[in-house]
């Protein structure tokens, strides 16, 4: 094996900052699709949105399935309390994402496999010792991991509502649907994007603290489901509905998005929701700082 032939001194301009981190984010984002199971999982998580799409197609008469009476009912205007089933209202497009079932469950499914394990898996194979001795900082690494997970989750939470809404705009008879809903919808979508960013950030931080991938997955699942259950139970016991958004991780996010999009909701505490998410995020950030003292990775 002749050295001169194969190994040449490197002569290129080094890139800096974000351009270094992007390949890491990209790898994290696309990692799920390397295996058949991963692709299947992703498609399963898109089910609720696809179900809504079918509903849309039925409502606009493009597709004829089901009994005629159901179709007629669905095609007529619904009273305001059924906003979630009315394509002329912005809430219709967010419902598959924000609801507890199926929204939260499928979000949990996707993120527990990807986001909650992202750093913990690297810790298990000691990849941290390779990553942190490169030309990026450890926080740059965490940022890259978060970005990849966020983009993957957002393809579901932001991409699907957008797809539904654009389809509805084209399926409608005229542009009134679009002009009526565009204001609320775009702000709501921004809100969902913001919430997805916060949620995935919290998941990434948990992954950075946990000592194993399984532990991270369990902690993440318990946080979402457990806090949801806790919020439900406590608010019932104390008969104070606004407590739900202060205790339940998912409810808090949902409340924030709905208030941003100016969607009607009652008995909620938006400030409580912000407080809860903010303190969770801040607390985890401090824990990660301690856990990630670089010395530990190279012990």
């Amino acid at each position: 094996m002749s050295i001169a032939h194969h190994y040449r001194p490197l002569d290129c301009e080094r890139v800096s900052g974000f351009q270094r981190i992007w390949p890491l984010a990209r790898q994290e984002m696309l990692g799920l699709f390397r295996t058949r199971w991963g692709v299947a999982l992703y498609l399963v998580c898109l089910f609720p949105a696809l179900g809504r799409l079918v509903m849309l197609l039925i409502m606009f008469g493009v597709v004829q399935i089901g009994p005629r009476s159901l179709q007629n009912r669905m095609a007529s205007n619904m009273p305001a309390s059924m906003d979630e089933l009315n394509p002329a209202r912005a809430a219709f497009y967010f419902e598959s994402v924000l609801s507890t079932m199926p929204g939260m469950i499928f979000f949990l499914l996707l993120t527990s496999v990807v986001v909650s394990r992202c750093v913990a898996r690297d810790r298990a194979t000691n990849a941290l010792e390779l990553y942190w001795t490169r030309g990026i900082s450890p926080w740059g690494y965490v940022f890259g991991k978060w970005l990849g997970g966020f983009l993957l989750a957002a393809s579901m939470t932001v991409g699907m509502p957008l797809l539904l809404w654009i389809s509805a705009c084209f399926l409608a008879e005229d542009w009134t649907l679009m002009t009526d809903t565009i204001g609320q919808f775009s702000i709501g979508l921004l809100g969902i994007a913001f919430m997805t960013a916060i949620w995935t950030a919290i998941g990434t931080l948990i992954s950075a603290i946990a000592s194993s991938a399984n532990l991270a997955m369990v902690a993440w699942s318990m946080l979402i489901v457990g806090s949801s259950a806790a919020g439900f139970v406590v608010s019932r016991v104390l008969d104070e509905d606004s407590l739900r958004s202060c205790l339940s991780f998912w409810e808090a996010g949902r409340v924030v998005v709905r208030s941003m999009a100016d969607l009607p909701q009652r008995d909620v505490s938006v400030s409580g929701a912000f407080l809860m998410l903010g303190s969770l995020f801040g607390g985890l950030l401090l824990l990660v700082r301690r856990r990630m003292r670089v010395v530990e990775a190279l012990r």
């Binding site: 290129c12 194979t125 900082s137």
Partner: protein, 312 residues
């Protein structure tokens, strides 16, 4: 590129890991030796910018003195001791991603990954997942990751760990290529001193955070007096050939028998070895091997470390 440490002190809380260390790593290969806990890994971490010294300065000759840690690491290659690989990645993906994280543009990273995988001998396995590699292949993958961004300084931590004898000699040959043919500064940290003797030009021994001995390996292992070690085949058909050889040698020099067919001869300065050959030939025996006695690096190490136990 050379690296200079000046009066570096590293502390972890109360524990003093490195104590006022001043040392220079020049081009060529240097063995970084020391007991577990002597401060070797702390020195490596400081050089990689992962730990900030409590005092002192670290200067890379071709980098500005205020270079950020990430910038330093973009020009330094590190091969960790423990098993480390990216989950789910193939050999090529791992090496190219790590190259991009060191600042290489995408196409250059891909090209370099191929080049470097050919260099270490992983060209046939580069598209297979690293998690399926054998121990030797994983070591090579780690070395490839350390080389992908063409660093001028390489830190290798126990590179022959877990390798069988064939793999070990391949790895050592690669390290020699790095330092001799490619002109890199290689810092070789290991407990296997014979590897250091085989590959490195100089060595530094640390004990409890201080340097207890350093220098060129040839100088460190030079024997004291001019003691020649001989191995002699007996003269065919002659009884007591060994005894006769010893007698002949003792006519001119101080000589001792140190084993079956082995002798030690103390030459005076300026004496030529041809007279030794002649003396052996007189008895019709044959010289099988001859060399100046050297200390082994292990002896140097043990003496240095045990000697410091008294003074520290």
């Amino acid at each position: 590129m050379s690296v200079q440490l000046e009066n570096v002190t590293i502390r972890y809380g109360e524990h003093l890991a490195v104590d006022d260390l001043s040392v220079t790593f020049h081009q060529g290969s240097i063995g970084l030796l020391g007991r577990n806990g002597a401060g070797k890994s702390s020195v490596l971490k400081a050089l990689l910018g992962l730990v900030r010294p409590a005092s002192g300065k670290i200067q890379f000759s071709e980098l500005p003195s205020d270079a950020s840690a990430a910038e330093v690491r973009a020009h330094v290659g590190y091969m960790p001791e423990r098993d480390a690989h990216l989950p789910q990645a193939t050999g090529f993906e791992m090496v190219s991603l790590l190259g991009m994280l060191s600042g290489l543009p995408r196409r250059d990273a891909w090209r370099r990954a191929h080049e470097v995988l050919y260099l270490v001998g992983l060209e046939e396995q580069r598209y297979r997942p690293v998690s399926g590699y054998s121990a030797g292949m994983r070591q090579k993958a780690k070395l490839a990751s350390a080389l992908v961004h063409d660093p001028s300084v390489l830190f290798l931590d126990e590179p022959t760990n877990g390798l069988d004898p064939g793999g070990r000699s391949e790895m050592l040959a690669l390290v020699r290529q790095m330092s001799q043919d490619l002109g890199k500064s290689v810092v070789f940290s290991t407990h296997i001193l014979q590897d250091v003797e085989a590959v490195c030009d100089s060595a530094i021994v640390l004990e409890r955070g201080k340097v207890v001995t350093q220098g060129n390996i040839q100088d460190l292992t030079a024997g004291g007096e001019r003691e020649l070690l001989l191995r002699v085949d007996p003269a065919p058909g002659v009884n007591d050939s060994a005894k006769k050889v010893l007698e002949e040698l003792q006519l001119s020099w101080r000589a001792e028998a140190i084993g079956e067919g082995r002798f030690a001869v103390w030459l005076l300065d300026d004496q030529c070895t041809s007279s030794v050959f002649a003396a052996v030939r007189k008895t019709s025996a044959t010289v099988r091997s001859m060399q100046l006695k050297r200390r082994s690096l292990e002896d140097v190490f043990l003496t240095a470390v045990r000697g410091s136990e008294g003074s520290l």
